[in-house]
Symmetry: C2
Amino acid sequence: MSGHAETLAFSAKAGKREAGTRERLLHAAAAVIQDGGWTSASVGAIAKRAGVAAGTLYRHFDSKADLFVEVFRAVSHREMSAMRTAEIGTTSFAERFDAIVRTYADRALRNRRLAWALVYEPLDAAVDRERLTYRRAYSEGMAALIRQGIASKTIPNQDADLAAAAVVGVIAESLVGPLSPVARETTPDAAIVAAIVTFCRRVIGLPG
Amino acid sequence: MSGHAETLAFSAKAGKREAGTRERLLHAAAAVIQDGGWTSASVGAIAKRAGVAAGTLYRHFDSKADLFVEVFRAVSHREMSAMRTAEIGTTSFAERFDAIVRTYADRALRNRRLAWALVYEPLDAAVDRERLTYRRAYSEGMAALIRQGIASKTIPNQDADLAAAAVVGVIAESLVGPLSPVARETTPDAAIVAAIVTFCRRVIGLPG
DNA sequence: ACTATCCGTGAACCCGGATTCACATTGCGG
DNA sequence: CCGCAATGTGAATCCGGGTTCACGGATAGT
């Protein structure tokens, strides 16, 4: 993984002593996915990155899919937390909206590949189920927020669910989409995030 | 495939006589992808759908990837044409923008799975290269249109490339995203498309 | 120290699916 | 009518990658 300091909150409920192999496997998996997506994340590659043998993985997970589901959960959880943290302290609807969008965009920008894999790349039925759950939760959160804005007459009345999807779409496409590497290199991340926020505001009709 | 009448413009440059097996394979591939994505599109499945043996595929294509690239090209070409057709006859910027967005959304809505596979699902390096080319072309077209709007002072000044990405994102996420099947079933397609158009207009700051 | 378990190992095994190939079959030019 | 080349066939082969398993080496409790 590039260099994201934060640690995945992989419940270290350790069986007995265990030097933390399980956690290392989870982190290794996230790392491999981050630079290569699901396809490059073979059991061999993950094990190697974790510094263990392939078979070891099965001492800790029933299957590869199982491991992936757990990675997915951990990362999703981390993202959701970040989002919630971002909105504490905000007072107005506009502030809250900006904070959330900015946080989401900002974070996705750092771990593009991983974010992309988690949000889009289809893979396994089990993982897909997890993905759907996560997206629904996220979408619903955004939709709820939008409803608040509508209720407070800060933004015009509209289909909150569709609007939420639209907002997510703006962020996703702008950040993790098949980014034309050229254009992106030259634009500083901060500027991109700022633009994203502007577009998202417009989508929901929030003057700004 | 569900029931889309139009035919893929697969250049029928036929080698000699050929009952059109090559074309049938291409159509079969598109059909299989339409209801199942890349993963379900095995050589066996495609061949079966085309009513030929697996080996036959290799009489017409160097490899599976090769076939996919061609399917991709054909479909992309078809979509681009539709878009161009949609904009003829329009006079104002707003009209043109609406027409294009509506067309894109409308078509994606019909062949969701296929659209999704083509736009997002990663697969093969060769196909991905093709995808990138297509997306770049599409994005640039949209960006160019947006620049027109800016030039004519119909919409505020902005980063046209990012705005284009945002527009594409809105459409993609709203239509082919992991759509919560529930909500969508109840909302008529026309309403969805209308909402999409509204959101897209807002993204670029087009009053309406 | 002794044993029951846990943990790690990596080669062997298995399986789905792409690719190949030796063998028909068909159409066309001569 | 003959032969050659294009096509079609489907069983055999290959191959990447997930999963299993018999075999040590460590650890904790007695």
